[in-house]
């Protein structure tokens, strides 16, 4: 009685920890605490499950702890070793394994069922099959998403002609098979169950295949909500509330997060899933021949500014064209209020007339001491965390220093690549006044933020305010 109460209470606490953890996770200030809280909730739930009294059970703790050690170690190493930039694909892998776990649970039930070791009601059988299906789709889907994100699987490798039709056919096949399995009950046999599993796995793969590489984060979020649902379904199998509540919670949160992610990309979820579009449209890089310029999102850029100790703006003619000097000052003020040291590097020929940048920045009331000329700026750039180039181009062209064939070879430029991160705000890859391509755009440290400078900075202001 008492022990039951404790177990139930633990599950309740665990469930609330999940809810509250996710809640805290959705605000930058508290996100870390939220993650830890959810983790603690999980720990409580696991411990409660381990000590819960089971009638007639043999416990097999050795197996369990063995599993803990292997799985825990693998997960920990993977999470610690992975590079910052590769984290999304890591999440995808973890998510796939969660789905696989649910599939395994469902298979275990089915084996018992078809062995005759256990009976199931129609409802229960349906739940098990749902668990299996969703878990399997989540598993292969996540793995493909991982492959695409990591780049070793290219869209063109996996997209079939008429892929939408193929998917539809597969889906129907899976559903029909499920109905057959339910109707036939125990007479269906394990083989048919395995066929069902295989079909589900194939469908998961095929579901993700046509979706463009750039849309993978959305897909991972969607698959994540699938995994949540499979966990909830598994919770029904075991009559376990925390699995149910936790799973449903993730299912709901994942769904809404997916929708939000689509909105942030100005796409509909349908549009993403039907795919094809994604691979062509929101390409994650701009190429020139075989060189690839990496693209930053507003979010990336604002994080790189907000969490920097020092930011250097490099204004150019584009700042003037966009008439973005006042919003730039607003961004400056915001960052300064958050303890970021903001300076402006003024190249002598930036703009289209001598002193062009001075005129603009004076208009925006940027105090004179914040303006560094070429030499001071180059000295300061080495210790700068983030350089934000606002519509400048020729004045930050490294070819001036290292390409004797370049028409601007020999001109002193702002050596922005000495800073830790560089972000270039411009509308396209087109060259500046001198009409020459800028190798900086393809530099490792650089990310492009395409768009009119004023628009981009306005969005950055909004984003930084939200932090």
């Amino acid at each position: 009685m008492l022990i039951d109460t404790y177990i139930n209470l633990s599950y309740l606490v665990g469930a609330v920890a999940f809810v509250w953890g996710l809640r805290l996770l959705s605000s930058p200030d508290t996100a870390r605490k939220g993650n830890i809280l959810a983790g603690i909730g999980m720990g409580i739930a696991i411990v409660a499950t381990l000590v819960a009294p089971l009638t007639g059970a043999d416990n097999n703790y050795l197996w369990i702890f063995g599993g803990f050690v292997i799985g825990g170690f693998a997960g920990w190493i993977a999470a610690k070793k992975i590079q910052m930039t590769a984290m999304p694909q890591m999440v995808s892998v973890f998510n796939g394994l969660g789905g696989a776990c649910a599939t395994v649970l469902a298979m275990a039930e089915l084996i018992k069922y078809y062995d005759g070791m256990m009976q199931m009601s129609l409802g229960q059988l349906s739940i098990v099959l749902v668990t299996l299906l969703i878990g399997a789709v989540s598993f292969t889907g996540s793995m493909l998403a991982f492959g695409k994100l990591d780049g070793f699987i290219k869209d063109k490798h996996v997209i079939l002609p008429g892929h939408t039709i193929v998917n539809l056919v597969l889906l129907i096949a899976v559903l029909v098979l499920a109905v057959i399995l339910i109707v036939q009950g125990q007479t269906a046999g394990i083989v048919m169950a395995v066929i069902f599993l295989v079909l589900a796995l194939i469908y998961g793969f095929s579901f993700v295949a046509p979706i463009g590489g750039a849309d993978m984060p959305v897909v991972i979020s969607l698959l994540n909500s699938f995994t949540g649902l499979s966990a909830a379904a598994a919770g029904l199998i075991y009559g376990n509330q925390i699995m149910l509540v936790g799973g449903i919670l993730v299912g709901a949160a994942g769904t809404i997060l997916t929708v939000l992610m689509c909105e942030a990309m100005n796409r509909s979820l349908m549009n993403v899933i039907i795919g094809g579009f994604g691979s062509a449209g929101a390409s994650s890089s701009a190429t020139d021949g075989d060189q690839v310029a990496k693209v930053a999102t507003i979010t990336d850029a604002s994080i790189q500014m907000f969490y920097a100790n020092s930011v250097m703006f490099v204004p150019g003619y584009g700042l003037a064209v966009a008439q973005a000097q006042k919003v730039l000052k607003e961004l400056d003020d915001l960052l300064e209020n958050n303890g970021v040291d903001v300076k402006y590097a003024i190249h002598p020929v930036a703009g289209r007339m001598p002193g062009h940048m001075n005129v603009l920045l004076a208009e925006a009331d940027v105090p004179y001491p914040k303006l560094l000329d070429l030499d001071d700026a180059n000295a300061a750039l080495k210790d700068t965390d983030t350089v934000v180039i606002v519509g400048a181009n020729d004045v930050v062209n490294p070819a001036a220093l290292d390409d004797p064939g370049s028409p601007i070879y020999g001109m002193p430029v702002l050596e922005v690549w000495n800073a830790k991160n560089v972000i270039v705000l411009k509308r396209s890859m087109s060259p500046g006044y001198a009409g020459i391509q800028n190798p900086l755009f393809f530099h490792d440290k650089n990310r492009m933020l395409f768009g009119d400078a004023k628009d981009s900075i306005q969005q950055l202001v909004q984003e930084v305010k939200d932090m």
């Binding site: 994540n224 949540g228 997060l257």
Partner: protein, 103 residues
């Protein structure tokens, strides 16, 4: 039909709970800044590792000689544990960069 109705009336509170949980899931997320989309996804993924509870129960309930069930269960535990530990750890790493400050 009858059974469904019965189920509904019996499990009424459960159904309330499910619906409220769904609303809560929506609500909790609906105003998240885009900066947090990825960490939040990662965190939610870690929570979905709760499926490990099922795997633990499976192993605990299995006959010590039923190696099929035991292996499956243990495999499930491993998979789930990777999801849980890896998920929370990777989320924490993502969130490290938020630790600095607040206006």
């Amino acid at each position: 039909m009858e059974t469904a109705l019965e189920f509904f009336n019996e499990q009424l509170i459960m159904i309330y709970l499910l619906i409220f949980t769904i609303i809560l899931g929506f609500e909790v997320i609906s105003k998240v800044p885009t900066v947090l989309h990825t960490p939040l996804m990662s965190g939610a993924n870690a929570v979905s590792g709760v499926v490990i509870i099922g795997a633990i129960l499976l192993v605990r309930q299995a006959e010590p000689t039923d190696y099929v069930q035991l292996s499956l269960g243990t495999f499930g535990v491993i998979l789930g544990m990777v999801n849980v530990i890896g998920g929370f750890t990777v989320t924490d790493r993502m969130l490290e960069m938020f630790k600095k400050k607040k206006k």
